[in-house]
């Protein structure tokens, strides 16, 4: 599991071996074989090559989920370029900032997404489906070339680009294939959007193994009832998502009304799965393998725990995140990088093949999250944990102002920066609370002169300035922000409101 290959080579091997197997089940239910994926990927590669894309370039992807979008990702990588996926429903300003930051050579998009994004200056676009290729364009990448950049929330309000190589991805994909044993005939869900790191397992584990990836579009993804019906109708065998949608399905999905007997593996990651909802789901889906996966975008998945088949109904503590996966090393260390005794709470750090190359445009030597321990480079996740004598890690929260909600990483500072762009708001402070595993985001806002601040106005502003998952759950309008004696915002006192 050293990832000594590329995503492109792994997918090409599956295409050669299983040309007639179904590779992609589109959101509309239509199926597309591996041979069709091959042809459509070549169309994108050819169209991008004509527009000047060469090995080492970045190509933006701002496009609804669909068969063609998957093919575009393969096509981009066939040119030795890296794909940069963004959320078409995010504010266009944020997406343009991302594409400017990593200087994309071209953007793959569709009509509705382009209308929202706006025609970018000096960047070629491919809108919709390109025509048939003139040639099979190939510029093979090496395992240490960049495969994709995933942008995550940045504390200063500016998203930061996590740069991942083919080796970073394939070391994780090889671990997934060894652990979950997918193969032809399996139907694996793709619930996460492609700018979210859960998509790496959905897409590349599935398409490297001859199984079918079943795409869930944005309208279906948040609807627990429709999803429960879709899982049954599509006869999904492998599911992977954030816990929050699984919890909603357990509560609102009418799971009893559906035949989910095809399901054999259910994985979740991205946030803590509260125990009451996990127990409810386990009761409705007995007998299948459930896995809790952990790892920030920067490391792919680095620990994993198989949830026991029988869970004590009196249990209240969330499950641990598990021992390190076979493709990396994980340690718990103190602030000076010294390993802690079993049970000691410290920083979760990781090294090995799945760990990112760095952030786009930032010298790795200047990246605070990279620390040197025993003469080698480790990634400090910013998460806190404790490891038992068997190497099983228990997650104990964050050191900074990052929170996870519905699986999304959110820097509270980015929300503050987004709110502050409103002419209605003079100043603001954002904090989070967690009640029985449910994370809520609160914002205290001070109105600009004469502005009347209501929830309707504030939410409308958020929809224009922030991705939907960053919008605060609750607003408190205050005359002034509470401050400590040193003049800093007093978050302690805000929490009491």
């Amino acid at each position: 599991m050293r990832g000594d290959t590329t995503i492109t080579d792994a997918v090409d091997a599956a295409i050669a071996r299983y040309p007639d197997a179904v590779a992609v089940i589109a959101p509309d239910g239509r199926t597309h074989t591996y041979a069709e994926l091959d042809g459509m990927a070549d169309r994108f590669a050819s169209a991008l090559a004509v527009r000047g894309v060469v090995a080492g370039d970045r190509v933006g992807v701002c496009r609804a989920k669909g068969f063609e979008t998957v093919a575009a990702l393969v096509g981009i990588m066939r040119l030795g370029a890296a794909y940069v996926p963004v959320d078409p429903s995010s504010p266009s300003e944020r997406n343009r900032t991302i594409f400017d930051d990593c200087t994309v050579r071209a953007i793959v998009t569709d009509e509705p997404a382009l209308a929202r994004l706006g025609q970018p200056d000096g960047v070629a676009t491919i809108v919709g489906t390109p025509s048939a290729p003139h040639a099979r364009e190939r510029a093979p990448a090496t395992p240490d070339d960049l495969a994709y950049i995933l942008y995550t929330s940045g504390s200063t309000g500016r998203p930061k680009g996590v740069c991942l190589t083919h080796r970073n991805a394939m070391s994780f994909v090889q671990w997934c294939i060894a652990t979950f044993a997918p193969g032809p005939g399996d139907r694996c869900s793709s619930h996460a959007p492609f700018h979210f790191d859960l998509s790496i397992l959905d897409l590349w584990m599935t398409l490297a193994s001859g199984a079918s990836v079943a795409l869930i579009d944005e309208s279906l993804a948040k609807d627990p009832r429709a999803l429960a019906a879709w899982i049954a109708a599509t006869r999904i065998t492998n599911w992977y998502s954030v816990p929050s949608i699984l919890a909603l399905m357990a509560e609102h999905g009418r799971l009893d009304e559906h035949d989910h007997s095809a399901l054999r593996v259910v994985c979740f990651a991205g946030e803590v799965f509260p125990i009451p909802q996990l127990l409810a789901l386990r009761a409705k889906w007995p007998g299948l393998a459930m896995w809790n996966l952990y790892g920030p975008t920067e490391t792919n998945v680095c620990t994993a725990l198989r949830i026991p088949d029988a869970v004590d109904a009196a249990r209240t503590d969330p499950f641990p995140i598990g021992p390190a996966c076979a493709h990396c090393e994980v340690r718990i260390v103190d602030d000076r990088g010294h390993p802690l005794q079993p049970g000691g709470v410290g920083r979760i750090i990781c090294r090995g093949a799945p760990v990112m190359r760095g952030y786009w445009g930032v010298d790795p030597a200047e990246t605070a999250a990279f620390i040197t321990v025993d003469g080698t480079r480790w990634y400090d996740t910013g998460d806190l944990g404790a490891m038992d004598a068997d190497g099983v890690v228990d997650f104990r929260g964050r050191r900074d102002r990052m929170v996870k909600r519905r699986g999304y990483r959110i820097e509270l500072g980015e929300i503050e920066a987004g709110l502050a762009r409103s002419p209605l708001i003079a100043e603001c402070a954002v904090w989070s609370t967690s009640d029985a595993g449910e994370v809520r985001i609160h914002a205290a806002v001070v109105a600009a002169d004469d502005a009347k601040l209501g929830v309707i106005a504030l939410r409308s502003h958020c929809a224009a300035a922030l991705p939907p998952y960053m919008a605060p759950d609750r607003f408190v309008v205050v005359d002034a922000l509470p401050r400590t004696s040193t003049g800093k915002i007093d978050y302690q006192s805000l929490r009491a409101r």
């Binding site: 948040k222 929830v455 309707i456 409308s460 929809a463």
Partner: protein, 86 residues
């Protein structure tokens, strides 16, 4: 139960849930709720659960989209129609 009762219930729920603290006068019948981002998908899930219990109707997944849930007026018309279908 008439449309006005439904309207009152929908408004009370929204002003208590997603729009807590808002001046009720600002929640007009035709204010776009979904397309404006004022109510998110989680808000719709809570609203549909409330409507199902309160009005003894069953809302199918495909019905909870923008067509039926983008404004108070649309929600009221939708609930009234579902009650007649029972």
């Amino acid at each position: 139960m008439n449309d006005e009762d439904i309207r009152t219930a929908v408004r009370e729920f929204l002003l208590d849930d997603a729009l807590a603290g808002e001046d009720p006068a600002n929640l007009t019948d035709d204010l776009p709720l979904r397309t404006s981002g004022i109510i998110d998908s989680m808000g719709v899930i809570r609203l549909t659960s409330f409507l199902e219990q309160r009005f003894a109707i069953r809302i199918d997944a495909h019905e909870a989209g923008v067509d039926n849930f983008d404004s108070v007026a649309a929600i009221v018309a939708f609930v009234a129609r579902k009650r007649k279908e029972r």
